[in-house]
Symmetry: C2
Subunit: 654 residues, 2 copies
């Protein structure tokens, strides 16, 4: 029974599980827990007393492994939809004891093989014991090579102590525990396998917020919350601390399933036994209430009190963490549907209208009623900026003559209909041409464009406006007057896995557009390239080079950087800006998703050692491209050398 | 004119060059230096006053770049065989000054393009200036993508200061200079491109021997020795310090060419002007002696006094750094040629004979003349161990009965001839069978085998001897009685480049056999797996797992680990051993080259942080394989999971 209804939420985080001990009557175990309100059980598959090495040599062939129930006592679909396999806890593959290691390897393989036979969706692997996990990871990696669709959830306690210390030899002494380090080694040993994910064990005390944040970029599938991590409220019911509550909301928002574990009466006995007094008399006849029901109810309460998803969020749900190639409007003509989507972004056009109003007021005094301002919209599309311009003129009482320049002949058709429909024939002249080669009959006071990509200059706005500024008056205004790109380092294991699945270099050297969701933003964003329009300096070039240094907050701990989020912020005119850099983003704007710049090999960044990243914008005669690399903490190869994998074609004009 | 004749040395290190300043009369420059005794010049190609940005805008199209001479003043073959291009020294691609960066990029590309046009074999790139090289490496990497066969020699000063310090934030503060770090970043940014190599600048003071050692695993093509690095001897002639002399020998041994640079009379004037007094009068008529001739003569003297190559070294020259697949004698039958080569390894059979003698003496008292010792040679091949056994019997006066078991039917033919020829028919019984399935008519006192591979157990000696020990008496002796494999970390950029050139995973997950030469051994070797024979313990397994920690000597500095050298040491009997682990190697033995275990991504190891490496020997029903990985300083993927790339087949017996 799902935790509740939350409009728009179709994610797995609606379902809550319970961890159970070994019970060889699986049907009874299941019915008890499902009737008790849980959606699935995390059930021990193998008798915990079993050890392969204890088997007698003589009965090798006829031995039946002591599994809890077979596929006859439960149907495969029951197994598959209601049971996550819990692998034996005694398994210790990095023990000093060789025979324990050998037993562990045999048993782990037997249990996974059994779980595959039952078509389970996932198995929970016990936490690595001690500080080393090399042998454990090797065996899991062997298993992953020939696994069916099953996920392996590696159980990782959510813990990180705060003291780092440095020894005299110059080496970092890692006396602190940071369970993330163990996870990071494990998954690198297993080569970021997409079926290896995480079940986080939530303990009574939590690490810092920055440290917690890292996990939202990792493949966490489940969070196991122990009854002893709950507090008891005044009425004797279980509840969670504010920080735990916030963390739970994060899990719900990131499709992470909750599993409740532990014993109700072990450490934090409920004051009342939680039995409905009305049912008190006939409790023997009725189904017994599940002992962990109060915990489940509390988790359900937390789920149900989450904010509903806004319309924009629901629209964006399907785009979350889905890699798209950026538009190349200079090469391809946009489709009507695309224009329509972008035109719905009201906030954007309000900002443009404000900027144009201010520019008009600056150019023409209030008492001048005769001057006609020449305004050119370059890249007019189906006309939204023409409309914004005319509204600005009306609002400020200025006279306007508008040229609407558009290279897409299909959009020009729509534009003509619009002008006729609105009766703008005397004010608006439509020009069907590429702005870079149009010979304007007169010069413009104001040049208005919306050519920015997610990363600012990545849809060739600089090259287009360089071409258009020929017909701007010497004191004319470009709206936007400047724009700057920004980047910030991310943990984004989902995006990395998607790119890696292509098994080629090209996909690692492409810049994407993506609605970032399952990511961790590791440091504040920093400005990269700025372009100013108009640009009259001689020897001007649209090539750029920027070296950036990021430092992770010291309480984050180490983190894996899979790549960088890219944003832009544009100054339309004076104080009117438009942008999607997280800290200064224009609210309620949806025309742009962030860019994602991947790294071929993710970089592990440790506290105190800066992440140094280089980004180039390169211009050739027919194309523009980016190259990028890291030089600290370790060097990476230069990505996309000579634009070999990804570039922007300048189009027919060359 | 080569530095001298050294029997067997056909390497480039016979040739010595000279670095020259810009001179636009290239034919004169060349004849002066070639007549002066040098084999090639490192000549500046472009007028050092040239800057692309200083060109007037109006003469863009008709400008001729100010190169020193064209391909008409010297033929392409003269250019190619006698000139290395020296790229302009002013180039600084990581300057803060954007226009200098832009000029540098243009000029570097122009010069390389010109050098390619002239078919030069190499260009010398100036040292990176400052501490950053991101932009320089990017441009060089762009150039490398479409370069012809030309090598780019990046000039790197050979310097490393000794103090490391650690800052309070736990980060390594690298206030010291270690030019290796710069090289390492540069080549990683250029993705280990095979045409990017090093020209080392040799300065008056040298880093520690451990630090110098690193460079012999790197692609050093030239060493530029400055006149001011020379000392002056009592007679006023230039000479070098002992440490410099030793370094020069290292260069000669590693095919590294010497280039002399600087001015004879600038800092260390020669006391005499080095003009033959007999020629003093007619020095105007005669060709003037080259001012750097005394330096050249001294380098020639150092070259000529090198030891000549031994016969074994000459034999091995062709195998140096050449990757071979290990033999799989269980799968394939060896050829006569292979047997013959191995049989020539006298030292090996002397050791076997000594071991057998000792074993015979231990089993049969001196005064016992009746006991016949049963000795079985398993894997007898063409009979060298049979001969060694009979010689041991003769030497010790013991009676012997020999069974010679061999699975290769071709070798059995030779074996029969040998026995007939030597008249051994009464003593030696030939058995044409696989030792793992032969049913012996009696049990053996001594079991003699030579089944070891470079890495000890990597030719399935454990599996073979497990099969053969059935017919060993309970108190019988196996020769060898035990063997242990060893590994040590290496810098081996040549081997890495060869493996990388295959562009697949399989070659990075294969263990090779290779005569290691251009490598740096970074730490003493450590034992890995040990096998003892006979082995009667129950629950015995030939699976092994070993975790090893290596620390680089603190004065080495950082180094790149491309993989591990593998060796073995075997105890034949009691104190008689046989092996090739460097510190304990049996002298003058050539049957085994070391093994090489590669890493998919080389690991940069810094002082004070251990290199942690894991190695597994895995046994399946039909094959045996190794898996390996690193977990510190950073984790690597597990290599060769499930033996997917490389394995040893157990042969027909399954």
């Amino acid at each position: 029974m799902p935790l509740g209804e939350r409009a728009g939420d179709k994610s797995d985080s609606r379902y809550c599980g319970v961890e159970t001990e070994f019970n060889d009557d699986i049907p009874q175990l299941l019915s008890l827990n499902i009737n008790g309100g849980f959606d699935f059980v995390v059930a021990t598959l193998m008798d915990p007393a079993y050890r392969p090495s204890l088997k007698g040599d003589n009965d090798k062939s006829c031995d039946v492994l002591p599994f809890a129930g077979s596929d006859l006592v439960l149907s495969p679909s029951q197994w598959s939809s209601h049971v996550v396999g819990r692998i034996s806890l005694w398994i210790d593959l990095d023990s000093e004891d060789e025979s324990l290691r050998r037993d562990s390897e045999i048993c782990l393989k037997q249990e996974i093989s059994w779980a595959s036979h039952l078509s389970l969706q996932a198995c929970l692997l016990p936490s690595p014991k001690g500080t080393s996990c090399g042998n454990y990871a090797r065996v899991v990696n062997q298993i992953l090579q020939s696994l069916n669709n099953m996920q392996l959830w590696l159980r990782i306690p959510l813990e990180k102590s705060d003291d780092d210390s440095v020894n005299e030899n110059g080496g970092l002494q890692r006396e602190h525990t940071d369970s993330w380090e163990m996870w990071n080694s494990f998954r690198i040993l297993c080569e970021h396998h997409s079926q290896l994910s995480i079940a986080l064990d939530i303990l009574p005390s939590l690490p810092s917020a920055n440290s917690l944040g890292r996990w939202f970029g990792e493949p966490v599938r489940a969070a196991i919350i122990h009854t002893n991590s709950f507090l008891t409220n005044a009425k004797g019911y279980p509840c969670l601390s504010k920080r735990h509550q916030k963390l739970m909301s994060g899990f719900f928002n990131h499709s992470i399933q909750i599993v409740i574990s532990g014993n109700q009466d072990q450490k934090h006995p409920l004051r009342s036994m939680d039995v409905d007094p009305n049912n008190n008399k006939n409790h023997v006849e009725s189904v017994q209430r599940h002992p962990l029901r109060p915990y489940l109810d509390y988790v359900g309460y937390l789920y149900q009190r989450m904010d509903v998803l806004s319309e924009q969020e629901r629209f964006e749900l399907g785009y979350r963490d889905f890699l798209q190639s950026p538009l190349q409007p200079l090469m391809d003509n946009l489709e009507a549907q695309t224009y329509e989507t972008f035109e719905k972004d009201t906030m954007k056009y309000i900002q443009y209208q404000r900027a144009i109003s201010k520019a008009l007021q600056d150019r023409v005094p209030d008492d001048d009623s005769s001057t006609v301002t020449i305004l050119m919209v370059v890249g007019a599309g189906r006309g939204p900026l023409v409309r914004a311009s005319l509204q600005a003129a009306e609002e400020t009482g200025r006279k306007l003559k508008v040229y609407a320049v558009e290279k897409n002949p299909n959009a020009v058709v729509t534009l003509h209909s619009l002008v006729k429909l609105e009766g703008w024939e005397n004010i608006v002249t439509i020009v069907s041409s590429d702005m870079r080669c149009w010979e304007a009959p007169e010069k413009a006071d104001i040049l208005v464009s919306e050519l920015l990509g997610s990363f600012g200059d990545n849809e060739l706005s600089p090259e287009c406006l360089d071409g258009a500024q020929r017909f701007l008056k010497e004191d004319g205004i470009s709206i936007p007057s400047s724009y700057t790109s920004y980047i910030q380092p991310l943990t984004a294991s989902k995006l990395y896995a998607d790119i890696k699945s292509h098994k080629d270099l090209v996909h690692f050297e492409t810049i994407y557009v993506v609605k970032l969701h399952r990511v961790a933003r590791l440091a504040p964003s920093q400005p990269v390239f700025t372009f100013v329009h108009p640009e009259y300096s001689t020897n001007n070039s649209n090539q750029r080079y920027k070296k950036l240094q990021f430092e992770l907050p010291s309480d984050t701990g180490s983190a894996l950087v899979h790549g960088f989020a890219g944003y832009f912020d544009a100054t339309l005119y004076k104080d009117v800006h438009l942008g999607m850099e997280p800290l200064t983003a224009t609210p309620n704007m949806f025309s742009w998703f962030p860019a994602f710049i991947p790294l071929r090999t993710p970089l592990c960044v440790r506290p105190g050692i800066p992440l140094e990243f280089h980004l180039w914008r390169c211009c050739g005669s027919t194309k523009v491209w980016y190259e990028w690399c890291a030089t600290s903490p370790t060097a990476s190869p230069v990505h996309n050398t000579n634009g070999r994998s990804y570039w922007l074609r300048k189009g027919d004009l060359g």
